[in-house]
Amino acid sequence: MSYSFRFNVVTDNLGFLLAGARATILVTIAALLIGMVIGLVVGMARLSKRPYVAGPATAYIEVFRNTPALVQLIWVYYCLPILTGLNMNALISCTIALAVNGSAYLAEIFRGGIQSIDRGQVEAARTLGMSHLQTMRKVVLPQAFRRMIPPFVNESVALLKFSSLVSVLGVADLTYQAQVLSTTTFRPIEIFTFIAIVYFGLCTLLSYSARRLERRLAVSD
Protein backbone atom coordinates (compact mmCIF):
# COMPACT_ATOMS: atom_id res chain seq x y z
CA MET A 1 0.00 0.00 0.00
CA SER A 2 1.57 3.21 -1.13
CA TYR A 3 -1.00 5.63 0.33
CA SER A 4 0.45 7.85 3.01
CA PHE A 5 -2.10 8.90 5.62
CA ARG A 6 -2.13 12.56 6.63
CA PHE A 7 -4.45 12.89 9.55
CA ASN A 8 -3.58 16.54 10.11
CA VAL A 9 -6.39 17.29 7.68
CA VAL A 10 -8.68 16.05 10.43
CA THR A 11 -6.95 17.76 13.32
CA ASP A 12 -6.71 21.03 11.42
CA ASN A 13 -10.46 20.99 10.73
CA LEU A 14 -11.60 19.41 13.96
CA GLY A 15 -13.91 22.29 14.84
CA PHE A 16 -15.59 22.10 11.46
CA LEU A 17 -16.16 18.35 11.77
CA LEU A 18 -17.28 18.49 15.39
CA ALA A 19 -19.88 21.12 14.47
CA GLY A 20 -21.25 18.46 12.15
CA ALA A 21 -21.14 15.90 14.96
CA ARG A 22 -23.14 18.28 17.11
CA ALA A 23 -25.79 18.60 14.41
CA THR A 24 -25.90 14.81 14.08
CA ILE A 25 -26.43 14.41 17.82
CA LEU A 26 -29.09 17.14 17.97
CA VAL A 27 -31.06 15.77 15.02
CA THR A 28 -30.91 12.26 16.46
CA ILE A 29 -31.99 13.31 19.95
CA ALA A 30 -34.82 15.50 18.65
CA ALA A 31 -36.01 12.74 16.33
CA LEU A 32 -35.84 10.20 19.16
CA LEU A 33 -37.81 12.37 21.56
CA ILE A 34 -40.53 13.21 19.05
CA GLY A 35 -40.50 9.62 17.82
CA MET A 36 -40.99 8.32 21.35
CA VAL A 37 -44.06 10.44 21.94
CA ILE A 38 -45.62 9.46 18.62
CA GLY A 39 -44.47 5.87 19.10
CA LEU A 40 -46.07 5.58 22.54
CA VAL A 41 -49.39 6.91 21.26
CA VAL A 42 -49.35 4.75 18.12
CA GLY A 43 -48.16 1.70 20.03
CA MET A 44 -50.96 2.00 22.58
CA ALA A 45 -53.48 2.71 19.83
CA ARG A 46 -52.40 -0.49 18.13
CA LEU A 47 -53.29 -2.41 21.27
CA SER A 48 -56.78 -0.96 21.33
CA LYS A 49 -59.72 -3.33 20.97
CA ARG A 50 -61.47 -0.79 18.75
CA PRO A 51 -60.66 -1.47 15.10
CA TYR A 52 -61.00 2.18 14.09
CA VAL A 53 -58.21 3.00 16.54
CA ALA A 54 -56.00 -0.03 15.99
CA GLY A 55 -56.40 -0.03 12.19
CA PRO A 56 -54.90 3.38 11.41
CA ALA A 57 -52.11 2.74 13.94
CA THR A 58 -51.21 -0.50 12.17
CA ALA A 59 -51.33 1.22 8.78
CA TYR A 60 -49.05 3.98 10.06
CA ILE A 61 -46.50 1.47 11.33
CA GLU A 62 -46.57 -0.59 8.15
CA VAL A 63 -46.20 2.40 5.83
CA PHE A 64 -43.17 3.82 7.60
CA ARG A 65 -41.47 0.51 8.19
CA ASN A 66 -41.89 -0.65 4.62
CA THR A 67 -40.60 2.38 2.76
CA PRO A 68 -36.94 3.45 2.63
CA ALA A 69 -35.89 6.11 5.09
CA LEU A 70 -34.22 8.11 2.33
CA VAL A 71 -37.44 8.19 0.32
CA GLN A 72 -39.33 9.37 3.42
CA LEU A 73 -36.73 12.06 3.99
CA ILE A 74 -36.96 13.38 0.43
CA TRP A 75 -40.74 13.11 0.46
CA VAL A 76 -41.07 15.19 3.60
CA TYR A 77 -38.59 17.76 2.31
CA TYR A 78 -39.82 18.19 -1.26
CA CYS A 79 -43.40 16.90 -1.39
CA LEU A 80 -44.89 17.88 1.95
CA PRO A 81 -44.33 21.63 1.49
CA ILE A 82 -46.02 21.50 -1.93
CA LEU A 83 -49.00 19.59 -0.57
CA THR A 84 -49.44 21.59 2.63
CA GLY A 85 -47.97 24.97 1.74
CA LEU A 86 -45.81 24.75 4.86
CA ASN A 87 -42.31 26.00 4.32
CA MET A 88 -39.75 24.16 6.37
CA ASN A 89 -36.01 24.30 6.32
CA ALA A 90 -34.05 21.15 5.67
CA LEU A 91 -33.14 20.64 9.33
CA ILE A 92 -36.75 20.60 10.46
CA SER A 93 -37.93 18.42 7.56
CA CYS A 94 -35.19 15.93 8.25
CA THR A 95 -35.88 15.82 11.97
CA ILE A 96 -39.57 15.21 11.30
CA ALA A 97 -38.87 12.51 8.74
CA LEU A 98 -36.43 10.71 11.05
CA ALA A 99 -38.85 11.07 13.97
CA VAL A 100 -41.71 9.60 11.96
CA ASN A 101 -39.55 6.77 10.70
CA GLY A 102 -38.28 6.02 14.19
CA SER A 103 -41.76 6.27 15.69
CA ALA A 104 -42.99 3.36 13.59
CA TYR A 105 -40.31 1.11 15.06
CA LEU A 106 -40.65 2.59 18.54
CA ALA A 107 -44.42 1.98 18.41
CA GLU A 108 -43.73 -1.71 17.89
CA ILE A 109 -41.24 -1.66 20.74
CA PHE A 110 -43.78 -0.05 23.06
CA ARG A 111 -46.46 -2.48 21.97
CA GLY A 112 -44.18 -5.46 22.53
CA GLY A 113 -43.11 -4.12 25.92
CA ILE A 114 -46.67 -3.53 27.07
CA GLN A 115 -47.84 -6.90 25.81
CA SER A 116 -45.01 -8.68 27.57
CA ILE A 117 -46.39 -7.61 30.96
CA ASP A 118 -48.41 -10.38 32.58
CA ARG A 119 -52.16 -9.83 32.47
CA GLY A 120 -52.30 -10.58 36.18
CA GLN A 121 -50.51 -7.30 36.90
CA VAL A 122 -53.30 -5.39 35.22
CA GLU A 123 -56.01 -7.45 36.89
CA ALA A 124 -54.48 -6.90 40.31
CA ALA A 125 -54.42 -3.14 39.77
CA ARG A 126 -57.94 -3.00 38.37
CA THR A 127 -59.41 -5.05 41.23
CA LEU A 128 -57.91 -2.50 43.62
CA GLY A 129 -60.02 0.14 41.90
CA MET A 130 -57.26 1.76 39.84
CA SER A 131 -58.27 3.20 36.48
CA HIS A 132 -56.93 2.01 33.15
CA LEU A 133 -54.69 5.06 32.92
CA GLN A 134 -53.37 4.74 36.49
CA THR A 135 -52.67 1.07 35.84
CA MET A 136 -50.74 1.90 32.68
CA ARG A 137 -48.77 4.68 34.33
CA LYS A 138 -47.92 3.04 37.63
CA VAL A 139 -47.89 -0.68 36.93
CA VAL A 140 -47.54 -1.59 33.25
CA LEU A 141 -45.31 1.09 31.73
CA PRO A 142 -42.63 1.14 34.46
CA GLN A 143 -42.17 -2.61 34.01
CA ALA A 144 -42.52 -2.51 30.24
CA PHE A 145 -39.99 0.33 30.08
CA ARG A 146 -37.25 -1.86 31.51
CA ARG A 147 -37.87 -4.59 28.99
CA MET A 148 -37.87 -2.02 26.21
CA ILE A 149 -34.38 -0.70 26.92
CA PRO A 150 -32.46 -3.17 24.72
CA PRO A 151 -34.67 -2.81 21.61
CA PHE A 152 -34.88 0.91 22.28
CA VAL A 153 -31.09 1.18 22.19
CA ASN A 154 -31.01 -0.75 18.92
CA GLU A 155 -33.47 1.72 17.46
CA SER A 156 -31.50 4.71 18.78
CA VAL A 157 -28.33 3.39 17.21
CA ALA A 158 -30.17 2.77 13.94
CA LEU A 159 -31.56 6.29 14.00
CA LEU A 160 -28.16 7.79 14.71
CA LYS A 161 -26.77 6.02 11.67
CA PHE A 162 -29.83 6.89 9.56
CA SER A 163 -29.26 10.53 10.44
CA SER A 164 -26.29 10.53 8.05
CA LEU A 165 -28.88 10.53 5.26
CA VAL A 166 -29.84 14.11 6.11
CA SER A 167 -26.57 15.19 4.45
CA VAL A 168 -28.27 14.45 1.13
CA LEU A 169 -30.62 17.37 1.77
CA GLY A 170 -27.83 19.70 2.79
CA VAL A 171 -28.15 19.55 6.55
CA ALA A 172 -24.69 20.22 7.91
CA ASP A 173 -24.34 17.02 9.91
CA LEU A 174 -21.18 15.00 10.42
CA THR A 175 -21.39 13.26 7.04
CA TYR A 176 -22.15 16.50 5.18
CA GLN A 177 -19.22 18.29 6.76
CA ALA A 178 -16.99 15.37 5.82
CA GLN A 179 -18.12 15.56 2.21
CA VAL A 180 -17.53 19.30 2.07
CA LEU A 181 -14.10 18.92 3.59
CA SER A 182 -13.19 16.07 1.24
CA THR A 183 -13.98 18.07 -1.88
CA THR A 184 -11.76 20.91 -0.74
CA THR A 185 -8.86 18.91 0.71
CA PHE A 186 -8.95 15.78 -1.47
CA ARG A 187 -8.41 13.66 1.63
CA PRO A 188 -11.62 11.54 1.84
CA ILE A 189 -9.83 8.49 3.24
CA GLU A 190 -8.64 10.20 6.40
CA ILE A 191 -11.83 12.20 6.80
CA PHE A 192 -14.27 9.34 6.30
CA THR A 193 -12.15 7.06 8.47
CA PHE A 194 -12.34 9.67 11.18
CA ILE A 195 -16.10 10.19 11.00
CA ALA A 196 -16.67 6.43 10.96
CA ILE A 197 -14.78 6.35 14.25
CA VAL A 198 -16.91 9.19 15.59
CA TYR A 199 -20.14 7.39 14.63
CA PHE A 200 -18.78 4.21 16.16
CA GLY A 201 -17.89 6.04 19.36
CA LEU A 202 -21.31 7.65 19.65
CA CYS A 203 -23.15 4.37 19.10
CA THR A 204 -20.93 2.53 21.56
CA LEU A 205 -21.47 5.23 24.15
CA LEU A 206 -25.23 4.86 23.68
CA SER A 207 -25.14 1.10 24.17
CA TYR A 208 -22.87 1.43 27.17
CA SER A 209 -25.04 3.94 29.00
CA ALA A 210 -28.10 1.82 28.27
CA ARG A 211 -26.44 -1.20 29.85
CA ARG A 212 -25.67 0.85 32.93
CA LEU A 213 -29.24 2.11 33.12
CA GLU A 214 -30.50 -1.44 32.79
CA ARG A 215 -28.31 -2.59 35.66
CA ARG A 216 -29.45 0.29 37.84
CA LEU A 217 -33.09 -0.55 37.21
CA ALA A 218 -32.54 -4.21 37.96
CA VAL A 219 -32.82 -3.76 41.73
CA SER A 220 -36.18 -5.55 41.86
CA ASP A 221 -34.94 -8.68 40.08
Binding site: D118, Q121, E123, A124, T127, M130, S131, H132, K138, Q143
Partner: protein, 258 residues
Protein backbone atom coordinates in the same frame (compact mmCIF):
# COMPACT_ATOMS: atom_id res chain seq x y z
CA UNK B 1 -81.86 -1.50 43.37
CA UNK B 2 -81.63 -5.12 44.42
CA UNK B 3 -84.07 -6.44 46.94
CA UNK B 4 -81.29 -8.27 48.77
CA UNK B 5 -82.00 -8.95 52.37
CA UNK B 6 -80.13 -6.47 54.59
CA UNK B 7 -77.60 -9.01 55.77
CA UNK B 8 -76.67 -10.24 52.28
CA UNK B 9 -73.22 -9.02 51.24
CA UNK B 10 -73.28 -10.82 47.91
CA UNK B 11 -76.23 -12.01 45.93
CA UNK B 12 -76.18 -13.69 42.54
CA UNK B 13 -79.45 -13.95 40.65
CA UNK B 14 -79.65 -16.40 37.76
CA UNK B 15 -76.11 -15.63 36.64
CA UNK B 16 -75.05 -17.23 33.36
CA UNK B 17 -71.91 -16.95 31.36
CA UNK B 18 -70.39 -18.68 28.36
CA UNK B 19 -66.96 -18.58 26.82
CA UNK B 20 -67.93 -18.71 23.17
CA UNK B 21 -70.27 -21.64 22.85
CA UNK B 22 -69.06 -23.20 26.09
CA UNK B 23 -71.36 -22.47 29.01
CA UNK B 24 -69.33 -21.99 32.22
CA UNK B 25 -72.01 -20.71 34.59
CA UNK B 26 -75.64 -21.77 34.36
CA UNK B 27 -78.31 -19.86 36.23
CA UNK B 28 -76.37 -19.50 39.44
CA UNK B 29 -78.36 -18.31 42.45
CA UNK B 30 -76.42 -17.83 45.62
CA UNK B 31 -76.29 -15.50 48.58
CA UNK B 32 -73.42 -14.75 50.93
CA UNK B 33 -74.27 -13.11 54.22
CA UNK B 34 -72.19 -10.41 55.82
CA UNK B 35 -69.40 -12.01 57.81
CA UNK B 36 -69.92 -15.36 56.19
CA UNK B 37 -67.10 -17.48 54.75
CA UNK B 38 -68.19 -19.45 51.71
CA UNK B 39 -65.87 -21.94 50.07
CA UNK B 40 -66.40 -22.98 46.48
CA UNK B 41 -65.25 -26.48 45.60
CA UNK B 42 -65.51 -28.55 42.48
CA UNK B 43 -63.44 -30.09 39.72
CA UNK B 44 -61.37 -27.85 37.49
CA UNK B 45 -63.55 -26.40 34.77
CA UNK B 46 -66.60 -26.43 37.01
CA UNK B 47 -66.77 -22.63 36.99
CA UNK B 48 -65.50 -21.75 40.48
CA UNK B 49 -62.88 -19.27 39.37
CA UNK B 50 -65.12 -17.74 36.73
CA UNK B 51 -67.85 -17.26 39.32
CA UNK B 52 -65.41 -15.44 41.55
CA UNK B 53 -64.12 -13.28 38.70
CA UNK B 54 -67.63 -12.30 37.69
CA UNK B 55 -68.30 -10.82 41.10
CA UNK B 56 -65.77 -8.01 40.59
CA UNK B 57 -66.36 -7.82 36.85
CA UNK B 58 -63.05 -9.28 35.73
CA UNK B 59 -65.39 -11.35 33.58
CA UNK B 60 -68.66 -10.07 32.21
CA UNK B 61 -71.77 -12.07 32.78
CA UNK B 62 -74.14 -12.80 29.90
CA UNK B 63 -77.32 -12.90 31.95
CA UNK B 64 -78.48 -12.38 35.50
CA UNK B 65 -77.45 -9.90 38.16
CA UNK B 66 -74.78 -9.71 40.81
CA UNK B 67 -75.24 -7.50 43.86
CA UNK B 68 -72.53 -6.64 46.33
CA UNK B 69 -73.82 -4.93 49.43
CA UNK B 70 -77.04 -4.19 47.55
CA UNK B 71 -75.26 -2.53 44.62
CA UNK B 72 -75.45 -4.22 41.19
CA UNK B 73 -72.02 -4.95 39.74
CA UNK B 74 -71.10 -3.76 36.26
CA UNK B 75 -74.42 -2.02 35.74
CA UNK B 76 -76.37 0.77 37.37
CA UNK B 77 -79.98 1.75 37.45
CA UNK B 78 -80.71 4.67 35.16
CA UNK B 79 -84.36 5.69 35.42
CA UNK B 80 -85.59 2.14 35.55
CA UNK B 81 -83.25 0.37 33.17
CA UNK B 82 -79.82 -1.08 33.81
CA UNK B 83 -76.94 0.48 31.92
CA UNK B 84 -73.30 -0.68 31.82
CA UNK B 85 -71.17 1.12 34.38
CA UNK B 86 -68.81 3.79 33.12
CA UNK B 87 -65.18 3.14 34.11
CA UNK B 88 -65.16 5.47 37.11
CA UNK B 89 -68.20 3.88 38.70
CA UNK B 90 -66.88 0.38 38.09
CA UNK B 91 -63.52 1.35 39.63
CA UNK B 92 -65.35 2.68 42.66
CA UNK B 93 -67.29 -0.56 43.06
CA UNK B 94 -64.21 -2.72 42.55
CA UNK B 95 -62.23 -0.77 45.13
CA UNK B 96 -64.53 -2.16 47.81
CA UNK B 97 -63.84 -5.78 46.93
CA UNK B 98 -60.45 -7.29 47.66
CA UNK B 99 -59.11 -10.06 45.50
CA UNK B 100 -56.26 -12.48 46.02
CA UNK B 101 -54.97 -14.42 43.02
CA UNK B 102 -53.51 -17.86 42.59
CA UNK B 103 -50.30 -16.39 41.20
CA UNK B 104 -50.12 -13.47 43.69
CA UNK B 105 -49.79 -10.85 40.95
CA UNK B 106 -47.67 -8.57 43.10
CA UNK B 107 -46.35 -5.56 41.24
CA UNK B 108 -42.89 -6.88 40.42
CA UNK B 109 -41.17 -3.49 40.29
CA UNK B 110 -42.33 -2.42 43.74
CA UNK B 111 -41.35 -3.36 47.28
CA UNK B 112 -43.85 -5.05 49.59
CA UNK B 113 -44.71 -1.72 51.15
CA UNK B 114 -45.08 0.01 47.78
CA UNK B 115 -47.37 -2.78 46.64
CA UNK B 116 -49.62 -2.14 49.61
CA UNK B 117 -49.57 1.66 49.49
CA UNK B 118 -50.10 2.20 45.75
CA UNK B 119 -53.87 1.81 45.53
CA UNK B 120 -54.66 3.71 48.75
CA UNK B 121 -52.63 6.63 47.38
CA UNK B 122 -53.96 6.46 43.81
CA UNK B 123 -57.57 5.59 44.52
CA UNK B 124 -58.28 6.81 48.03
CA UNK B 125 -55.93 9.78 47.74
CA UNK B 126 -54.18 9.03 51.01
CA UNK B 127 -50.93 10.91 51.55
CA UNK B 128 -47.73 8.89 51.35
CA UNK B 129 -47.36 9.16 55.12
CA UNK B 130 -50.88 7.90 55.81
CA UNK B 131 -50.54 5.10 53.27
CA UNK B 132 -47.19 3.99 54.66
CA UNK B 133 -48.52 3.91 58.21
CA UNK B 134 -51.43 1.79 57.00
CA UNK B 135 -49.16 -0.42 54.91
CA UNK B 136 -46.71 -0.96 57.75
CA UNK B 137 -49.55 -1.90 60.07
CA UNK B 138 -51.09 -4.35 57.59
CA UNK B 139 -47.80 -5.98 56.65
CA UNK B 140 -47.15 -6.36 60.37
CA UNK B 141 -50.52 -8.00 60.72
CA UNK B 142 -49.67 -10.62 58.10
CA UNK B 143 -46.32 -11.23 59.81
CA UNK B 144 -44.07 -9.37 57.39
CA UNK B 145 -42.99 -6.39 59.45
CA UNK B 146 -39.37 -7.18 58.57
CA UNK B 147 -40.02 -7.40 54.82
CA UNK B 148 -41.41 -3.93 54.12
CA UNK B 149 -38.70 -3.02 51.65
CA UNK B 150 -38.21 -6.42 50.02
CA UNK B 151 -39.06 -6.87 46.37
CA UNK B 152 -41.42 -9.73 45.45
CA UNK B 153 -38.57 -11.64 43.78
CA UNK B 154 -36.84 -11.82 47.17
CA UNK B 155 -39.87 -13.24 48.97
CA UNK B 156 -41.09 -16.81 49.20
CA UNK B 157 -44.42 -17.69 47.64
CA UNK B 158 -46.11 -17.72 51.02
CA UNK B 159 -44.69 -14.29 51.87
CA UNK B 160 -45.75 -12.94 48.48
CA UNK B 161 -49.27 -14.16 48.97
CA UNK B 162 -49.42 -12.54 52.42
CA UNK B 163 -48.27 -9.26 50.89
CA UNK B 164 -51.06 -9.68 48.33
CA UNK B 165 -53.56 -10.15 51.14
CA UNK B 166 -52.26 -7.03 52.90
CA UNK B 167 -52.47 -5.13 49.61
CA UNK B 168 -56.13 -6.08 49.22
CA UNK B 169 -56.89 -5.24 52.86
CA UNK B 170 -55.35 -1.78 52.47
CA UNK B 171 -58.43 -0.71 50.52
CA UNK B 172 -60.55 -1.68 53.52
CA UNK B 173 -62.78 -4.00 51.47
CA UNK B 174 -66.24 -5.19 52.46
CA UNK B 175 -65.62 -8.49 50.80
CA UNK B 176 -62.59 -10.60 50.00
CA UNK B 177 -62.37 -12.99 47.08
CA UNK B 178 -59.68 -15.68 47.14
CA UNK B 179 -58.94 -17.50 43.89
CA UNK B 180 -57.02 -20.66 44.78
CA UNK B 181 -54.67 -18.67 47.01
CA UNK B 182 -52.47 -21.62 47.91
CA UNK B 183 -52.44 -23.56 44.65
CA UNK B 184 -49.09 -22.29 43.45
CA UNK B 185 -47.36 -22.59 46.81
CA UNK B 186 -44.91 -25.21 47.95
CA UNK B 187 -46.67 -27.49 50.43
CA UNK B 188 -44.73 -26.20 53.42
CA UNK B 189 -45.84 -22.62 52.71
CA UNK B 190 -49.56 -23.30 52.47
CA UNK B 191 -50.09 -23.17 56.21
CA UNK B 192 -48.92 -19.57 56.74
CA UNK B 193 -51.31 -18.25 54.08
CA UNK B 194 -54.27 -20.26 55.37
CA UNK B 195 -53.48 -19.09 58.88
CA UNK B 196 -53.65 -15.47 57.71
CA UNK B 197 -56.97 -16.14 55.99
CA UNK B 198 -58.34 -17.89 59.03
CA UNK B 199 -57.51 -14.89 61.18
CA UNK B 200 -59.28 -12.66 58.71
CA UNK B 201 -62.35 -14.87 58.86
CA UNK B 202 -62.27 -14.77 62.65
CA UNK B 203 -62.31 -10.97 62.49
CA UNK B 204 -65.60 -11.16 60.64
CA UNK B 205 -64.52 -10.51 57.06
CA UNK B 206 -66.96 -11.71 54.42
CA UNK B 207 -65.00 -14.12 52.24
CA UNK B 208 -65.56 -16.23 49.17
CA UNK B 209 -62.78 -18.72 48.70
CA UNK B 210 -62.00 -21.07 45.84
CA UNK B 211 -59.70 -23.74 47.17
CA UNK B 212 -58.68 -27.34 46.87
CA UNK B 213 -57.55 -27.49 50.48
CA UNK B 214 -60.42 -29.39 52.03
CA UNK B 215 -58.98 -29.08 55.51
CA UNK B 216 -59.32 -25.31 55.29
CA UNK B 217 -62.84 -25.62 53.92
CA UNK B 218 -63.82 -27.89 56.75
CA UNK B 219 -62.27 -25.73 59.43
CA UNK B 220 -63.06 -22.19 58.31
CA UNK B 221 -66.05 -22.28 55.97
CA UNK B 222 -69.51 -21.46 57.22
CA UNK B 223 -70.88 -22.94 54.05
CA UNK B 224 -69.55 -24.94 51.14
CA UNK B 225 -70.86 -24.78 47.60
CA UNK B 226 -70.09 -27.66 45.28
CA UNK B 227 -70.00 -26.62 41.64
CA UNK B 228 -70.43 -29.01 38.79
CA UNK B 229 -70.47 -27.97 35.14
CA UNK B 230 -71.41 -24.41 35.96
CA UNK B 231 -74.16 -25.09 38.46
CA UNK B 232 -74.19 -25.18 42.22
CA UNK B 233 -75.12 -28.79 42.69
CA UNK B 234 -75.09 -28.83 46.44
CA UNK B 235 -74.47 -26.43 49.30
CA UNK B 236 -74.44 -26.70 53.02
CA UNK B 237 -72.34 -26.47 56.16
CA UNK B 238 -68.99 -28.27 55.89
CA UNK B 239 -70.01 -30.98 58.28
CA UNK B 240 -72.94 -32.00 56.14
CA UNK B 241 -71.05 -31.73 52.84
CA UNK B 242 -68.09 -33.73 54.06
CA UNK B 243 -69.90 -36.38 56.05
CA UNK B 244 -73.26 -36.70 54.37
CA UNK B 245 -73.25 -35.28 50.83
CA UNK B 246 -76.65 -35.60 49.25
CA UNK B 247 -75.52 -35.70 45.64
CA UNK B 248 -73.76 -38.60 44.02
CA UNK B 249 -71.45 -36.18 42.14
CA UNK B 250 -70.42 -34.45 45.35
CA UNK B 251 -69.60 -37.81 46.87
CA UNK B 252 -67.58 -38.82 43.79
CA UNK B 253 -65.64 -35.53 43.86
CA UNK B 254 -64.91 -35.71 47.58
CA UNK B 255 -63.79 -39.32 47.39
CA UNK B 256 -61.16 -38.16 44.90
CA UNK B 257 -59.83 -35.17 46.84
CA UNK B 258 -60.08 -36.28 50.45
Amino acid sequence: MGSASPSAMVRLERVSKSFGSLPVLRDIDVEVKTGEVVVLIGASGSGKTTLLRCINCLEHIDRGRIYVDGVPMGVHDESGSFRPDPERLLNHKRAQIGMVFQRFNLFAHMTALQNVTLAPMMVKKLTRGQAERLGTELLGKVGLADKLHAYPSKLSGGQQQRVAIARALAMNPKLMLFDEPTSSLDPELVGEVLETMKRLADEGMTMIVVTHVMGFAREVADRICFLHEGSILEEGPPKQIFTAPRQERTRAFLSKVL
